[in-house]
């Protein structure tokens, strides 16, 4: 995506929305639309992105936008795309349009999993972007299936006898790969080239596509807002959130130049503050071990690189 061209176009996600200062979700929406362009219909699940951007009569969207409910942006975008297919077939319409659904981890991993799965299985020509801030942020930071182990949330808080979430998070990206859709990817806020190129790549492919974007949330994760992008990049560098894509089942993984210890990532965020207590060292160790094990498993999925010629 050529930045010099993008800056000439009108903003498809304007200012004036009510997201927190430094909100990663707003960055995701802007960058995805920069890559997708104006011929895009967006459906969003209920959640931070939808609420901050469409408070009647204000809308930050400069593309056609529909919100229906929380758990169904997968099904709703399928309806829009089905109508488009119907009209194209009947000769009633003739224009190339992108169909993009946004959902938070709440509306995607948990309550929205069914409608997402159905949408992917039916093969609709849609892109689903999950802006994953690892908790139900819009309702006040409750734990979700995407919340990492050890994180403090309001429904799995760190207290005197419990130390935050006790389960490791769901691997939704791999669930999507198991749906055998043509394109699945992970991206972060903080690497715009990676995210926008993945969006462009996805939109050029016919069929259902899924991109899981780790989105730091300054409120829920508790950090200084200016470091939103830095924390996103750190997630990739520590392999907490590897950047990779799976195109027709073939894995391509971006390996960090130097794999950093997860402690560097955890220390930046207030939601992990309790883990610095000496008695919580076993949890830190478990987190690092889990990341290392997942990283090795992921690396093994990549086809072996051809050996370099001598």
């Amino acid at each position: 995506m050529n930045v010099k061209e993008v800056v000439k176009q009108k903003e498809l996600f304007t200012g004036g929305h009510r997201a927190c200062a430094g909100c990663g979700a707003a960055i995701v929406a802007r960058q995805v639309l920069m890559a997708a362009g104006p011929n895009t219909v967006v459906v969003s699940a209920t959640g931070c992105l939808e609420v901050v951007s469409t408070i009647f009569p204000y809308t930050a969207w400069n593309v056609p936008f529909l919100h229906s409910a929380f758990e169904n942006s997968g099904a709703t975008i399928c309806g829009v795309e089905a109508l488009y297919k119907s009209w194209m077939r009947q000769g009633k319409y003739n224009k190339k349009v992108n169909f993009i659904a946004f959902g938070g981890d709440g509306g995607t991993y948990d309550i929205g999993l069914q409608s997402l799965s159905g949408a992917m299985e039916r093969g609709h020509n849609i892109l689903y972007v999950c802006y994953n801030n690892e908790a139900y942020m819009n309702t006040g930071v409750q734990r979700s299936g995407a919340t990492p182990m050890g994180a403090d949330t309001t429904t799995a808080p760190a207290g005197k006898v419990r130390q935050g979430k006790e389960q490791f998070r769901k691997d939704l990206t791999e669930i999507m790969v198991a749906h055998k859709i043509p394109y699945v990817a992970q991206a972060v806020v903080g690497n715009w080239r990676d995210l926008t190129s993945k969006v462009e790549k996805a939109l050029a492919i016919e069929g259902p596509k899924f991109i899981n974007v780790l989105q730091p949330c300054r409120l829920g994760w508790s950090y200084k807002p200016e470091t939103t992008c830095e924390i996103g990049r750190l997630a990739a560098e520590t392999c907490v959130w590897p950047l990779y894509e799976v195109t027709n089942g073939v894995y391509k993984i971006s390996k960090p130049r130097e794999k950093k210890p997860v402690l560097e990532w955890l220390q930046q965020q207030g939601r992990f503050r309790h883990l610095s207590k000496p008695e919580n060292k076993p949890i830190l160790d478990a987190i690092q071990a889990n990341i290392d094990s997942n990283w090795q498993t992921l690396l093994a999925k990549e086809p072996p690189q051809a050996p370099k010629q001598p």
Binding site: P64, A75, G79, A82
Partner: protein, 392 residues
């Protein structure tokens, strides 16, 4: 009036036939007994290339209505079908469809709501969503199911309110009847072409649909829906008038059967109205002045018109095929009582809750209602509600 074919169709087949002639842009549906055939038959039309419809075999009823909302918002003519638990699962989206003012058509085959799970006919499912903001039309038989589906499209698109056309599960949905259907061209001309002013695929007029309303706008938007529901009454009548010219069959907000000089009347919806007509014919032959008022449109409720039709009666029985579980009566009885009260009429009224979970209603039982009414008119006291046909 157009030439029509006489065919044998079950209720489900009749509705599927209407859908074929309507040829909607999208049908998104999930199977549930006893509604399954409607979309199953329609899917075979799709497979045979008889329709242009994009058929979306969604993975749940909630997704069915969600996809319908997406398609309708995008600008298409959209239909679906379900019953009971399916309607319950999509209830959230049913309300949302009305709030978003999308002209979606739902073929609702009446089936009891769980628990206990039961696949047979009663009206509890339709009654569950009576406050959702949808127009609700009850069909007595397969002919009405067919006719109502065609009219529903025009009603929905003119009033900008979604419409559900109901038929009684198994009794009508699976019962074979002789019906008359319009030829394809006439049916197509009757429903016309859907031309929404605003739709998502219109990039010249970019829309945001489904914004959050804070305290400052929700009430106004809901007021608009309330007004539209009120105004839909005249839309329903206009469409019925037009349909009468096309098909020669008359429809209104309700039907009066032998009410001109009736002293005792039953108010009943759906297939039971048909059974009651048979009972009335028998009793009339014996000289009893009995009649039937069959509400066709339950939402919007034609309160004043019905009250006017009840003026001359000595006693009224309201038959409810569902229970409002308020400790007193069923939903239709609540509406009728309000209608009488608001029109200054104080008629002796007994509510009969019957047929729950597909319990058969027998002609003798309906006859007993009429004899109850004549006793009441003579001064006998009865409980305000009788659960008719239940074993003690």
């Amino acid at each position: 009036m157009a030439k029509q074919d006489i065919v044998a169709r079950t209720g489900n087949e009749a509705m599927a036939e209407a859908m074929r002639q309507i040829n909607p842009d999208v049908v998104a549906a999930y199977p549930i007994t006893p509604a399954t055939e409607v979309v199953q038959i329609f899917a075979s039309y799709v497979a045979d290339g008889l329709v242009d419809t994009e058929f979306v075999p969604v993975e749940s009823e909630h997704s069915a209505m969600s996809a319908c909302i997406g398609s309708s918002a995008a600008g298409g003519r959209v239909m679906t079908g379900t019953s009971s638990q399916g309607l319950a699962l999509m209830a959230e989206m049913v309300y949302i469809a009305a709030g978003l003012r999308l002209p979606i058509i739902l073929a609702d085959v009446n089936r009891a709501l769980s628990s206990p799970i039961n696949i047979h006919c009663d009206h509890s499912d339709t009654m569950m969503v009576r406050d959702s903001g949808w127009v609700q039309i009850f069909s007595e038989n397969a002919q009405e199911a067919y006719d109502n589906m065609l009219q529903a499209v025009r009603i929905a698109e003119t009033a900008r309110i979604p419409v559900m056309v109901t038929t009684d599960g198994f009794i009508i949905s699976h019962g074979m009847e002789r019906i008359e259907i319009l030829d394809d061209a006439t049916a197509k001309a009757f429903v016309g072409v859907y031309k929404p002013k605003d739709y998502l695929l219109n990039f010249d007029r970019v829309l945001t649909l489904g914004a959050i309303d804070l305290q400052d706008y929700y009430f106004e938007h809901r007021m608009q829906l309330a007004e539209a529901m009120k105004n839909s009454k005249s839309v329903i009548m206009d469409v019925a008038k037009d349909y009468s010219k096309t098909a020669g069959r008359n429809y209104g907000l309700f039907e009066l059967y032998k009410m001109e000089d009736a002293k005792f009347a039953i108010i009943a919806m759906g297939s039971t109205a048909g059974t009651t007509k048979f009972v009335i014919d028998g009793l009339r032959a014996k000289g009893l002045k009995v009649g039937l008022l069959k509400p066709r449109v339950f939402r919007p409720f034609p309160k004043d018109e019905i009250a006017a039709a009840l003026k001359g009666l000595d006693a009224v029985a309201v038959m409810d095929r569902s229970d409002a579980v308020n400790g007193h009566e069923g939903p239709l009885a609540v509406e009728i009582k309000a209608a009488l009260y608001d029109n200054g009429l104080n008629k002796p009224l007994i509510n009969y809750i019957y047929g729950l979970g597909g319990r058969e209603i027998k002609t003798e039982e309906i006859e007993s209602i009429y004899s109850d009414l004549s006793e009441i008119a003579k001064g006998k006291k009865m409980d305000r509600v009788t659960y008719l046909g239940v074993r003690e």
